[in-house]
């Protein structure tokens, strides 16, 4: 019974691992680091979902484009990585505004299905275009953060990268909160998200406001991609995997909650690393994301922090 024996072997190994405190901690840190990157892309998804009511499946592809630009600016042009990432965020915002203006705005905003199909088409087009421009061989984008770990317990390392990833995500959430709650364009964006017709009737120009949302989402997605890609190597399909984990994160957090997106990202990152390590499921890592989506949709369709829309009539 070789199959049974190998299964038992896995089980034994899992038991050994389960009692290994350092391994737990190591995977916990890795999970937080991955989770922070999923959280960034999930935030971008949530921004578009809140304002338009659909999931922008091209969000990962916009981030892919941004990360390639960061690669060009840093590795090819020799800018410091952090500067290159900021430049790429600005450039991808401009691309996103263009995409929104040309491919999204011509469609009526209250019919979601055609728009979703447009974003799926954009995903395929952008990913293929990246392959044509930059080829399919993998490339290395260096991390913005120094290597090494200030805190270590045996194999468990709290690296600068983990700290940087987490810090970046919390800074993004903080800045986003200030931008949306304290500025006029933020108020306009939330008004459009809340009630399109009344937003028009108070004189908000809906198109440019949504374009602003797309630009902001692209910048955040690019930042998230620049955090995750140093772990994964850069190639044209790299963000597709990230997108699926981020979708799971957004679904778990509640599609219309920014705090939920961050929470969901961290939980998905942790779940993925712990499951993969302790159940030896590395081939099924992506399946954990799908499992999260399924469980959320079955048990709590609004996610952890999502709102149920209640309308008085």
């Amino acid at each position: 019974m070789p199959v049974l024996a190998s299964l038992l072997g896995v089980f034994d190994a899992s038991l050994d691992k389960l009692s290994d405190g350092e391994l737990w901690l190591a995977q916990f840190f890795r999970g937080l680091s991955d989770g922070a990157t999923y959280a960034s892309v999930a935030l971008a998804l949530v921004m578009i979902y809140k304002s338009t009511g659909f999931i922008n499946f091209a969000q990962g592809s916009m981030a892919l484009l941004g990360v390639y630009l960061a690669y060009v600016f840093s590795v090819e042009q020799g800018l410091p990585v952090a500067v290159a990432v900021v430049c790429a965020m600005v450039a991808s915002s401009a691309v996103a505004m263009f995409v929104e203006r040309v491919f999204i705005r011509p469609f009526p905003p209250d019919h979601v299905l055609p728009l979703v199909i447009v974003t799926l088409g954009l995903l395929l087009i952008i990913d293929s275009a990246a392959g044509i421009v930059w080829g399919f061989r993998t490339r290395n984008l260096p991390s913005m953060f120094p290597s090494g770990a200030p805190i270590e317990w045996g194999i468990a390392q709290l690296t600068w990268r983990t700290i940087g990833n987490l810090g970046t995500v919390f800074a993004v959430v903080g800045l986003l909160y200030l931008l949306l709650s304290r500025t006029k364009i933020g108020l306009a964006f939330r008004a459009v998200s809340s009630n399109l017709e009344s937003a028009r009737l108070v004189g908000i120009r809906v198109g440019p406001t949504l374009g602003f949302g797309w630009a902001l989402a692209a910048a955040i997605g690019t930042l998230g991609g620049s955090l995750v890609v140093p772990d994964l190597l850069l190639e044209p399909s790299v963000m597709l995997r990230v997108l699926i984990f981020s979708l799971a994160a957004a679904a778990l957090g509640g599609l219309d909650s920014m705090v939920g997106a961050v929470l969901g990202g961290l939980v998905v990152g942790l779940a993925r690393n712990l499951l993969v390590t302790f159940l030896d499921l590395s081939e099924l890592a992506l399946a954990t994301a799908v499992a999260v989506i399924l469980v959320v949709l079955l048990v709590r369709p609004t996610g952890l922090l999502g709102s149920t829309r209640v309308e008085r009539v």
């Binding site: 006029k184 108020l187 306009a188 939330r190 008004a191 998200s193 809340s194 009630n195 017709e197 009344s198 937003a199 028009r200 009737l201 108070v202 004189g203 908000i204 120009r205 709102s307 209640v310 309308e311 008085r312 009539v313």
Partner: protein, 237 residues
């Protein structure tokens, strides 16, 4: 009788292939309250939406002598036209205060804060709930908020689509009293679509009766209130 402030001529409006307004004419003088009566489907709501370019139109809409037809909603709002749409005129996820701030979106003067306080005084319940999400207010409170939100524009023309919809009669009456007071106080021209015809005719200066997308009757509100056909069709006695 002063010169018409709002002058609508040959206004047609359609949703896709379905023509709803077949060329209507009406005027409202500055500072007046005008009411539009009519059965369901007569085109009352469409008339208001047409004035704000929320539906595709033909014909002429002059406000203070200036042509509005062909302009975008955002530009029309900047010319002082505030519209309280039927039922859902608020931003449910935003707080009461943010709703009012959104109402002043096109204003950049220094008096916005003072206006917020002013409407809190007029509608004290809004002041008590300023931090609460608009969606958590009762129907009547939401309607007050929608009206206050529209007044934050300091409109020269206020369009109200069925302000009494879903409200208890007592609340409706006090809401209309407040509208009359605002009209007297600020001289805001108002165009009201209303099912509660007796109440609306009681406060209005002029009235128009729409039937199947055309103006069937028009005149001073008190004359229409005394008209036999209006009485039977809309006042029910």
């Amino acid at each position: 009788m002063s010169a018409p402030y709002l002058e609508v001529q040959g206004l047609k409006a359609a949703y896709g292939d379905i023509q709803v307004l077949h060329g209507i004419d009406f005027t409202v003088a500055e500072g007046q309250i005008a009411v539009i009566l009519g059965a369901n489907g007569a085109g009352k709501t469409t008339t208001l939406r047409a004035l704000c370019a929320m539906v595709s139109t033909e014909g002429s809409i002059k406000l203070g002598g200036e042509e509005l037809a062909g302009r975008r909603t955002a530009d029309i709002v900047r010319r002082g036209v505030a519209h309280v749409p039927q039922g859902r005129g608020t931003f449910p996820e935003l707080s009461v205060e943010e709703n009012l701030m959104a109402g002043a979106f096109v204003r950049s003067d220094a008096d916005v804060r003072a206006d917020v306080s002013r409407w809190y005084e007029t509608f004290p319940v809004l002041g008590e709930r300023r931090g609460q999400a608009a969606g958590s207010l009762s129907g009547g409170e939401q309607q007050m908020l929608a009206i206050a939100r529209a007044l934050m524009l300091r409109p020269s023309l206020l369009l109200l689509d069925e302000p009494s919809l879903g409200l208890a009669p007592m609340i409706t009456r006090s809401l209309f009293e407040q509208l009359v007071a605002i009209n007297a106080d600020a001289g805001t021209t108002m165009l009201v679509v209303e099912q509660n015809a007796s109440l609306a005719l009681g406060v209005a200066d002029v009235a128009y009766v729409l039937e199947a997308g055309e103006v069937a009757l028009s005149g001073p509100a008190d004359e229409l209130a005394a008209d036999d056909s209006v009485r039977r069709a809309y006042l029910g006695y």
